[in-house]
C-alpha cells in the first residue's frame, strides 16, 4: 500500500513541478540554515576533554584589598598571583595539580633556511600532561623533579615538529628558545582540545601551543608572558610580571576524583584564605571558587553571543519556511478535494486518505531534508571562510548528521499533518456534486 501511495505522491508532485520545487526549496533552506548554526553551536559548546572534564577543577581565590569589594557579589580573581600559586602547589592537597601560564618564545631553528620566529608557549608544572591526558607521538613529558631542578627541557607540538624536524623523532635534540638551549623530551600526538579551556585569556578556540617548558625554567630564561594580567592595589607590571608583585597571571588546575575530595579542597582554599588574611596579605573575607571544566567554560561564556543569536535567527527562518510549506501544501491538498472525494466515495477510509497525504508530504520533507543537508554542508563551508577564531572547527559530525535527518523528517511531517487532516475532513458527496 505504501508503495502505491508513494507512486501517487510522485504523480501528484510531478503535476505541479514549480510548486513542488518551491516547497522542497523552502524546507531545504530552513533546515540548511538551522543545521549550520546548530552544528556550530554544538561544536563550540562541546566538552573539550570527555571523561576527564568532571574531575578537573579550576581554583580561584581573592587576594585583593577591600577597594571595590561587594560582599557576596564580587567574584574571586580569574587568575593566581605567583606567591599564591606557589603556596597552593607546595601544599600538594590535590592528587594532581598544575600551575601554568601562557607565553611567547622566540624559536631559533637549527636549520638556517628558516628565520627565527615566535611561537605560542605554555609554561607549566609537570602534572599538566598526565592530568589532561595529553598523548605523545615521541618521547614523554618531564616530571616533577625536572620542575624542581629547573631543567631545560621542552615538549613540542606535532605541527612545530613537522616544521622544524620534518616530522621525525626529535627527542634528544637541542632547541634554542628565547636565547637558551632546551632539550626536547617529547613530541605531542594528535591533541586539539577545544574550547581552549585551560587558559581562556589568549583565545577561546583554535590551535594549542607549539612549545611547552617547565614553569621554573621559563622564569629563569625570562621568557615572555602572553595573556591577561590583573594587578590590584599598588601593583604594576611590564611584559613579565614580577613574582612579588600584586598581579594575577597564572592558572591553577587540580584533579579531584570524587565530590568529597572537591569539597575538601574547597575547604582547604577557604582555610588558606583565612590564614593569608591573618598574615595580612589578604584583606577580603575568604572568597573562593572551585569550578570543574564545564562550569568554568559556562562561567566564562565562551560560546560567542553571535553564534547563539544566529541559531535563534535560523530557527526563526525555519519556522517561516515551515509555515510557508504548510500553506502551500494545504492549498494543494484542498485543490484536489474532488479527487479525494472520489476516492472516499469508492470506499477509501479517512485513515488511508490521511496516510496517502502524509506520504506525499513526507516525500517533500525528505527531499527537502537531503537538500537541507547539502545546504548545511555548504553553510559550514561558508562558516569556515569567516574570520572568527572558531571558524576552522565548523564540521558536521555523525550526531549532527542524524539530527539533520530527524529534523527534516519531523519538520515535514509536522508541515504535512495539518493539511492532510484538513483535506480528510471533506464530505465526499459535496465534492462529487461539484465534479
Amino acid at each position: 500500500m505504501l508503495g502505491y501511495y508513494f507512486d501517487l505522491a510522485l504523480r501528484s508532485l510531478r503535476r505541479n513541478k514549480v510548486l513542488t520545487a518551491l516547497m522542497v526549496l523552502a524546507i531545504a533552506l530552513g533546515i540548511g540554515a538551522s543545521m549550520t548554526t546548530l552544528t556550530v553551536l554544538h561544536v563550540l559548546s562541546g566538552d573539550p576533554l570527555p571523561g576527564r572534564s568532571s574531575t578537573l577543577y579550576y581554583a580561584q581565590i581573592d587576594p585583593r584589598d577591600m577597594s571595590g569589594y561587594l560582599p557576596g557579589k564580587s567574584q574571586p580573581m580569574h587568575q593566581m598571583s605567583w606567591i599564591d600559586g606557589m603556596n597552593l602547589l607546595r601544599a600538594k592537597r590535590a592528587g594532581r595539580q598544575a600551575l601554568m601560564t601562557g607565553g611567547l618564545v622566540a624559536v631559533q631553528p637549527h636549520n638556517t633556511m628558516l628565520d627565527p620566529f615566535y611561537e605560542a608557549a605554555r609554561y607549566t608544572t609537570a602534572d599538566f600532561f598526565t592530568m589532561l591526558g595529553v598523548p605523545f607521538e615521541y618521547g614523554h613529558a618531564w616530571n616533577t623533579s625536572d620542575d624542581e631542578a629547573h631543567a631545560r627541557v621542552a615538549v613540542i607540538s606535532t605541527a612545530l615538529n613537522d616544521k622544524l624536524f620534518g616530522g621525525t623523532d626529535s627527542t634528544g635534540q637541542t632547541l634554542r628558545l628565547s636565547g637558551a638551549a632546551f632539550r626536547i623530551v617529547g613530541v605531542l600526538g594528535n591533541w586539539h582540545p577545544n574550547p581552549h579551556f585551560y587558559d581562556l585569556n589568549r583565545k577561546s578556540y583554535g590551535e594549542n601551543e607549539g612549545v611547552y617548558v617547565p614553569l621554573s625554567s621559563s622564569q629563569d630564561v625570562g621568557m615572555h608572558h602572553d595573556g591577561s594580567v590583573t594587578c590590584w592595589g599598588k601593583g604594576g607590571t611590564g611584559i613579565n610580571p614580577d613574582h612579588a608583585s600584586r598581579c594575577a597571571w597564572l592558572q591553577f588546575w587540580v584533579q579531584l576524583d570524587t565530590p568529597a575530595e572537591a569539597a575538601a579542597y574547597k575547604t582547604f582554599l577557604i582555610h588558606y584564605s583565612e590564614q593569608q588574611k591573618v598574615l595580612g596579605r589578604f584583606q577580603r573575607p575568604p572568597n573562593v571558587q572551585l569550578r570543574d571544566v564545564m562550569q568554568w567554560l559556562d562561567y566564562n561564556q565562551v560560546v560567542p553571543d553571535d553564534v547563539r543569536l544566529q541559531t535563534w535567527l535560523a530557527f526563526g527562518f525555519l519556522l517561516v519556511c515551515l509555515v510557508n510549506t504548510v500553506g502551500l501544501m494545504l492549498a494543494k491538498f484542498m485543490r484536489r478535494a474532488g479527487e479525494l472525494g472520489v476516492r472516499r466515495a469508492l470506499g477509501a477510509s479517512k485513515r488511508s486518505l490521511f496516510a496517502q497525504l502524509l506520504v506525499e508530504s513526507g516525500v517533500v520533507g525528505l527531499t527537502g531534508g537531503v537538500g537541507g543537508l547539502l545546504l548545511a554542508l555548504l553553510g559550514l563551508w561558508l562558516v569556515r571562510q569567516q574570520p572568527a577564531e572558531y571558524a576552522p572547527l565548523a564540521h558536521l559530525d555523525p550526531a549532527m548528521l542524524l539530527a539533520t535527518f530527524l529534523l527534516a523528517l519531523g519538520a515535514s511531517l509536522l508541515a504535512g499533518l495539518l493539511p492532510a487532516w484538513r483535506a480528510c475532513q471533506i464530505a465526499p458527496a459535496l465534492q462529487l456534486k461539484m465534479v
Binding site: L19, L22, L25, A26, L29, A33, M66, S67, G68, L104, A106, Q108, D115, P116, F117, Y118, S178, G179, A180, G222, H224, S228, W232, G233, K234, G235, G236, T237, G238, I239, D242, A244, S245, R246, D305, D306, R308, L309, Q310, L313, G316, F317, L319, V320, V323, N324, V326, G327, L328, L330, A331, K332, M334, R335, Q386, P387, A388, L418, R422, V435
Partner: protein, 410 residues
C-alpha cells in the same frame, strides 16, 4: 474597492489565510529585528577612533633572549626611522584603539577613599603619541620631556610603593572630563587611579577611543607620560601620507632588521588593516543578517505567489462569472491586489507586536537597546512591497481570464 466581499471570500479559506498572515507576521518581526541588529553593528563598526587612521603604520618587534640595551636601541631605531623619506612622525605605544592584541585599563576615582571607581578607562603609554596619532588637544598642553618616566622605573616604583618614581600628570579625553567634572574646566584638577595614586590633568583631547572593553565607555581614554622601549612590547607607530604607507612600511622593516638582525618582526601592517581585523566579526554578522533578511523576503514572496496562484486557479469560474457580469480586467486585478494588501496589513500589525516581543527577549539576553520606532514602518513597507510584487503575476493571470469561462462547466 469593496472590502466586504473580499473578507467574506477569505472566510471560506480561513486556515490558509491565517497561515499566510502568520508567515507575513513572522517575517515582519524577524526582518525588523534583523535590520535593527544590522544598524547596531554598523554603528559599532563606524565608532570614531580619533586618530589619523589612514596615515599610520605599525611595526612590532620581538627580541631573542635578553635586551639590556633596549633604551639605546629604541633611541637609535626612532632616529633611523625618522630618516626614511616620507616619514612624518614616529611614536611608541603598546596598543591603539580597537585592538585585538590586548588592552591596558585603569580605574579612575575622584577621591582616593572612594570604595567604587567612578569609571574605567583605557590607558595609553608611550612617547610622541599625540603628534603621531594626530590626536587633537582641545585644552591644555602635551607632556614636556621632563615629565616622562621610563616604563621599568614606573613599574618598579609602583611595586615598591615609591610615589616619586611615578608620573605626576595625565592627559584625558573630553568624555572623561565631562563625566568627572560636568560643566567645569578639567585642567589643573586632580584625579586618582583605583589604587589611589594622584594625577594632575594637564591636557584634554577631543576624541580618542579606548583599545577594547568598549561597553565600559568607548571614549574613556587616558594618556600617561611613560617612555616605552620596543622590548617592553611597544610597537613603533609611523605617520606618513596615505599613499606612502606601503613603501614606508617596507623601508622601515628593512631598516630595523639592518640595525639589529637579532629580532623578529611580529607585526608590520597599516592601521587600516588592524581596524578591519578588529571589526571583521561584526562585518561578517551584518552580512549574515542581510542574507537572512533577503532569504526571508524571497521565501515569503514565493509563498504568497504560490498561494495566490492556487486561489486564482480555484476561482477561475467565479472570475469568469464576474467578468461576464461586467467587471473589467482592472476590477479583477484590483481585487487580488486588495486581498493581498489586507492580508499583509493584518500580518504586519501582528508582526509589529511580535517584533517588539522578540526585541524584549533579545534585550534580556544581549546588551541591546530598545527597538527604535523607525524600524516598524521600514519593515511594514518592505512587506507591503514584497506582497504586492508577489501577487502581481497571479493577479494579472486572473485578470486575463476570459468571461467565456463562466459558460463552461469545470
Amino acid at each position: 474597492m469593496d472590502i466586504l466581499p473580499i473578507l467574506s471570500t477569505l472566510r471560506l479559506h480561513k486556515v490558509t489565510s491565517l497561515l499566510l498572515i502568520l508567515e507575513i507576521a513572522l517575517t515582519c518581526a524577524i526582518v525588523c529585528n534583523a535590520m535593527f541588529l544590522i544598524g547596531q553593528q554598523l554603528r559599532h563598526m563606524n565608532l570614531p577612533s580619533g586618530i589619523a587612521e589612514h596615515e599610520l603604520v605599525q611595526i612590532q618587534l620581538g627580541y631573542i633572549g635578553n635586551t639590556p640595551d633596549a633604551k639605546a636601541q629604541t633611541q637609535s631605531d626612532v632616529a633611523a626611522l625618522q630618516q626614511i623619506p616620507g616619514v612624518k612622525q614616529v611614536g611608541l605605544d603598546r596598543y591603539l584603539p580597537f585592538s585585538l592584541d590586548g588592552s591596558s585599563n585603569t580605574g579612575i576615582k575622584l577621591d582616593p577613599q572612594q570604595h567604587q571607581n567612578t569609571l574605567d578607562a583605557g590607558q595609553y603609554l608611550g612617547q610622541n603619541l599625540l603628534p603621531t596619532l594626530g590626536v587633537r588637544l582641545v585644552a591644555g598642553r602635551n607632556f614636556e620631556p621632563g615629565e616622562y618616566v621610563d616604563f621599568d622605573t614606573a613599574v618598579a616604583a609602583l611595586n615598591g610603593g615609591d610615589m616619586k618614581g611615578l608620573p605626576q600628570v595625565m592627559i584625558i579625553t573630553r568624555a572623561i572630563a565631562e563625566r568627572l567634572w560636568p560643566g567645569q574646566q578639567a585642567l589643573g584638577k586632580t584625579l586618582y587611579t583605583d589604587s589611589g595614586i594622584p594625577f594632575r590633568v594637564i591636557g584634554v583631547i577631543a576624541v580618542l577611543a579606548r583599545q577594547n572593553n568598549l561597553q565600559q565607555g568607548a571614549q574613556y581614554s587616558t594618556y600617561w607620560p611613560i617612555r616605552m622601549t620596543s622590548a617592553d612590547g611597544a610597537s613603533y607607530f609611523i605617520r606618513c601620507a596615505p599613499q606612502d604607507r606601503e613603501p614606508v612600511l617596507k623601508a622601515a622593516v628593512a631598516k630595523l632588521k639592518q640595525l639589529n638582525p637579532n629580532r623578529v618582526v611580529l607585526k608590520a601592517r597599516t592601521y587600516d588593516q588592524a581596524r578591519r581585523a578588529y571589526f571583521a566579526n561584526d562585518r561578517a554578522m551584518a552580512g549574515i543578517l542581510a542574507g537572512v533578511i533577503a532569504a526571508l523576503l524571497v521565501v515569503t514572496a514565493l509563498g504568497i505567489a504560490g498561494l495566490a496562484s492556487f486561489w486564482v486557479g480555484q476561482r477561475r469560474r467565479t472570475i469568469g462569472v464576474r467578468r461576464a457580469l461586467g467587471a473589467t480586467r482592472r476590477n479583477i486585478l484590483h481585487y487580488f491586489q486588495t486581498e493581498n494588501f489586507l492580508l499583509a496589513t493584518i500580518g504586519i500589525a501582528l508582526g509589529m507586536v511580535l517584533a517588539y516581543g522578540i526585541n524584549l527577549l533579545l534585550m534580556l539576553h544581549y546588551e541591546l537597546p530598545r527597538l527604535p520606532a523607525m524600524y516598524f514602518p521600514v519593515g511594514a513597507i518592505a512587506l507591503w512591497l514584497v506582497g504586492q510584487l508577489a501577487v502581481l503575476g497571479p493577479a494579472l493571470r486572473a485578470a486575463a481570464v476570459p468571461p467565456v469561462v463562466a459558460t463552461r462547466s469545470v
